[in-house]
């Protein structure tokens, strides 16, 4: 019987298994997870779980019942340590060797470690273990510093406000999520954090973090100090490829793959999710993407391609990611950074608006919306098509985003 091994119990790994079965794969499927617990979903860690509204058990991607339905052999608690491409073997850290006919690399990415050490009270937030450690500390905290105002930092700040904590946000850039949405939209985000009582220390870096009583002092590069009970560091993620160092696979900020998500030069080795740096046809370059929807969509393509070597599908998505902060449901699609020009539409004061992004030729390349889901659907559809003019895109989004009931004058 044919055997497919999926390494990494990430959302990409789990969804690959599901896609394989959906596609009708009748062989053996083994899923290897390094953490000693059932696969779980990560987006809630900085939102509902951090808020206390959900538990980790609410975020499980699989239950024991699913294992039977999927005919899945789930191996938890021991990481894969090597891949032998010639012998078609995955070896685990405890020495167990598992042969495969096809293998999917879905080992994800880990939080970039703190460059300021790990004094008590300083946390990362990307795993269940991180989440538990942070929860334990928060029960006796009244103040928090978020270091890094990207997705994790922004969501932690918003949720911490909701939990009644005093929040300080630090980032070397001038605005939160500026790397993703640019400064025009970033300024609006800065205002929202400020309106909810977050103290923003933007445009300034962290020099060092040191223990201070039961808490921490965060010394900033402008010479000032911030004192807080806990800190959360959210400064990006690194692909988990170290275990592949001796495999001979091409590694360059992830596993280099072709447009079909096959590891470069390989036909039986695929990658999916945060760890895959695949050739993105639409953008004609290799890309690695860390978004949830990307992991799910890439897993579906990998599931198909594993079973249909003569009918391979290129993976050619439009990026999509969301972030929930305060009462803002932020949705982002396509390219919204890297020299793109933003134009605001809708009503920002009413908390229902969007931004359209264009390249320098005036082509529509990306969109961001706040509390305007229908306009975002229109944007995503346009972005899947090619070459929409920014003027047409604006008209489409405004029309699609109109309330059906709102034909009043």
């Amino acid at each position: 019987m044919s055997r497919t091994v999926v390494v990494g119990a990430s959302v990409a790994g789990v969804r690959t298994v599901q896609a394989l079965r959906r596609e009708g794969f009748g062989g053996e499927v083994i899923l290897i997870g390094d953490e000693p617990e059932f696969p779980y979903d990560k987006p809630p860690l900085s939102k509902a779980v951090f808020a206390g509204a959900s538990t980790l058990d609410d975020t499980r991607l699989l239950s024991a019942a699913h294992l039977d339905d999927l005919g899945l052999d789930l191996r938890l608690g021991v990481p894969a340590s090597t891949l032998d491409v010639a012998a078609k073997l995955v070896t685990l850290a405890d020495g167990t060797s598992i042969g495969y006919d096809q293998v999917v690399l879905a080992t994800g990415a880990r939080a970039r470690p703190s460059p300021w050490g790990a004094p008590p009270g300083l946390h990362l937030l990307r795993s269940a273990a991180h989440s538990r450690a942070l929860s334990a500390d928060l029960s006796r905290a009244s103040s928090i510093v978020v270091i890094g105002a990207g997705f994790i930092g922004s969501e932690v700040a918003a949720t911490a406000v909701h939990r009644g904590l005093h929040v300080t946000m630090v980032d070397p850039l001038a605005n939160p999520m500026a790397r993703v949405v640019g400064d025009e939209v970033g300024e609006l985000l800065t205002s929202v954090h400020g309106a909810h009582g977050v103290e923003t220390r933007l445009g300034v870096g962290v020099h060092e973090v040191r223990p201070h009583g039961d808490g921490l002092v965060i010394a900033l590069t402008d010479g000032s100090d911030v004192v807080a009970d806990v800190a959360v560091v959210g400064i990006g993620a690194l692909p988990n490829v170290e275990w592949l160092a001796d495999s001979g696979l091409a590694l360059d900020d992830g596993v280099t793959c072709d447009e079909y998500c096959r590891a470069a030069g390989q036909t039986d080795i695929f990658a999916a999710g945060d760890v895959a740096r695949w050739w993105h046809p639409r953008e004609a370059r290799h890309r690695r993407v860390e978004h949830w929807t990307h992991a799910v969509e890439q897993a579906a393509v990998v599931g198909h391609n594993l079973l249909h070597p003569d009918d391979l599908r290129p993976y050619d998505p439009v990026d999509y990611v969301w972030s929930d902060q305060y009462d803002w449901r932020i949705q982002i699609a396509g390219r919204t950074s890297g020299g793109c020009v933003a134009e605001l539409i809708g009503d920002a004061t009413a908390g229902r608006f969007g931004a359209l992004y264009s390249d320098h030729d005036g082509r529509f390349v990306g969109a961001m919306t706040v509390n305007w889901q229908k306009a975002m659907v229109a944007a995503r559809r346009l972005l899947l098509a090619t070459d929409t003019d920014i003027v047409d895109a604006r008209a489409h989004m405004l029309a699609a985003g109109q309330r059906r009931a709102a034909v009043d004058v």
């Binding site: 969804r15 599901q18 896609a19 959906r22 979903d41 987006p43 949830w292 929807t293 799910v296 969509e297 579906a300 999509y320 969301w322 929930d324 449901r329 949705q331 509390n371 305007w372 889901q373 229908k374 975002m376 659907v377 995503r380 559809r381 309330r403 059906r404 009931a405 709102a406």
Partner: protein, 65 residues
């Protein structure tokens, strides 16, 4: 017959379902899921199954009636 179920109470309007199966799912004015056609054909099964697993809050299900 496969039957599509959506829990509008769980829905957060991420709209991946509308992108995956726009003939079956839409959003209302508040940005929450609406099932346009709960009974689907076998031809639509694959895209609806993808919509189910592509829902970030597991608000969708495909059940056999």
């Amino acid at each position: 017959m496969p039957l599509v179920k959506a829990d509008a109470g769980l829905c957060q309007g991420y709209a991946n379902c509308v992108m995956d199966a726009g003939e079956v799912f839409d959003l209302d004015d508040e940005g929450l899921v609406v099932v346009l056609r709960p009974v689907i054909s076998e031809d639509e099964r694959s895209e609806v199954e993808q919509a189910v697993v592509n829902c970030p809050v597991a608000a969708l299900a495909l059940v056999e009636e």
